[in-house]
């Protein structure tokens, strides 16, 4: 019994240690960001691997999510004779929720895991220690560019996801199912508010980009430098990112649309 309580205390202590380390780590990254801006070439390379290479999966998922939403929404709305509202259904659910959230999850799986594995392997093969020996701060050189790239890419990817998804819904709704084209766009325009819906979706994606990239680079930097440790960190990145995205999504939604 006493042993069990001790175990509980140990894991709780470990949790808060990790939390504290990750916060200090975040501070160091933020301090290192000006150094990245002085060497934009590092950022460009990371923007390519984090942003551009994530683009195909984001676009494909966006199209299919929009198409499925249109199909499902149509089948429900047609019972009420309200299939003209299909554009509103598709646009609101994508812009408010699915755009930022699904992009966040895909981003964690596609880019976050790669970041963790790369940084973790750098640590395991002592490249980071080697940089420190040469008086190069690995946080400035390795971590901060990746963090900044993720932070920049994620809102862009989420915006692309939303726009592409709405066009996916348009293809299925208007092209396949025969919803009136004018009604699709005009109902959407009259119901979707720029500030309440579009901006709040963008704010969500910015927050998710920050959190997912933070988790990814921290897990990589904090990994146990063995093959098993790197694999565990990569898994943890995806799992924690998913938790963080979904949990924060609820909190942000409650704050934004709660009234």
């Amino acid at each position: 019994m006493l042993e069990w309580i001790r175990g509980l205390g140990r894991s709780g202590f470990g949790f808060f240690q990790t939390l504290g380390r990750s916060n200090l780590f975040l501070l160091k990254i933020l301090v290192g960001i000006p150094a990245v801006l002085a060497r934009p070439r590092l950022l460009v390379a990371q923007l390519f691997s984090v942003g551009v290479l994530s683009l195909p999966i984001i676009v494909v998922s966006g199209v299919f999510v929009g198409m499925v939403l249109a199909l499902q929404g149509y089948n429900t709305l047609v019972d009420f004779g309200a299939e003209e509202s299909l554009g509103v259904v598709v646009a609101l659910s994508i812009v408010r929720e699915l755009g930022p959230v699904v992009t966040g999850l895909l981003f964690a799986g596609r880019a976050g895991s790669a970041l963790t594995a790369e940084i973790g392997l750098m640590k395991a093969t002592e490249q980071l220690a080697g940089m420190e020996m040469m008086a190069v701060d690995p946080i400035h050189r390795v971590i901060a560019p990746r963090f900044l790239a993720g932070f920049i890419s994620m809102p862009l990817l989420a915006a692309i996801f939303s726009a592409v998804g709405i066009y996916g819904g348009y293809f299925v709704g208007v092209g396949l199912l025969g919803v009136d084209e004018g009604a699709y766009w005009s109902q959407m325009q009259s119901k979707v508010d720029l500030y309440d819906d579009v901006y709040n979706g963008v704010i969500k994606s910015v927050v998710f980009g920050f959190v997912v990239t933070w988790i990814a680079v921290f897990e990589g930097y904090d990994t146990v430098p063995t093959s098993e440790g790197v694999s565990r960190s990569t898994t943890r990145t995806v799992v924690f990112s998913a938790f963080a995205v979904l949990g924060l999504d609820f909190v942000l939604t409650a704050l934004m649309f709660g009234d």
Partner: protein, 156 residues
């Protein structure tokens, strides 16, 4: 060097696509393009009952969107709802005996204000008030009236 040029090109395309997507969301999806509050004038109308009218509900004349509701308040002295609507500056020829009525689009649709122009030569200007208004039809009241009438019809 070739490699970095392609990389930069692709990143540029990503950023451009991202901003283009934001632009599409702003212009094509949201209500930014349909009505902007910049070039508009406000007129006030008082209703006994506004039903389900909300801020940002449409204001139409002859079925055409000419403005939106900008605020709804309750006048504690006169026990009336005070509705302020912003009308597009392009439509500034409404006579001051225009009638404002609250209608419902469709059976379960949202409610909107319809303006029916009168014949006066005086025009509505910024800040002026519409004198003639028709309140929203509340379904329960109608049903109640109908039941009352049919009950009276049955009794003799």
């Amino acid at each position: 060097m070739k490699q970095t040029k392609t990389t930069e090109l692709l990143i540029g395309m990503l950023i451009a696509a991202g901003f283009a997507a934001l632009f599409v969301l702003a212009m094509k999806v949201s209500n930014l393009s349909s009505f902007s509050a910049a070039d508009s004038y406000g007129i006030t109308a008082r209703f006994d009952n506004i039903g389900g009218l909300k801020v940002r509900s449409p204001v139409v004349a002859g079925g055409v969107l000419v403005g939106r509701i900008s605020s709804i308040d309750y006048d504690n002295q006169r026990f009336e709802a005070v509705v302020v609507m912003k009308i597009d500056q392009a439509y500034d020829q409404f006579p001051d005996d225009t009638v404002a009525s609250i209608y419902t689009s469709g059976l379960l649709g949202e409610q909107y204000v319809a303006l029916d122009p009168g014949g006066s030569y005086e025009l509505l200007a910024d800040g002026s008030e519409i004198e003639f208004t028709t309140s929203a039809l509340v379904l329960e009241k109608l049903v109640g009236k109908f039941l009352l009438n049919s009950a009276e019809g049955d009794s003799p």
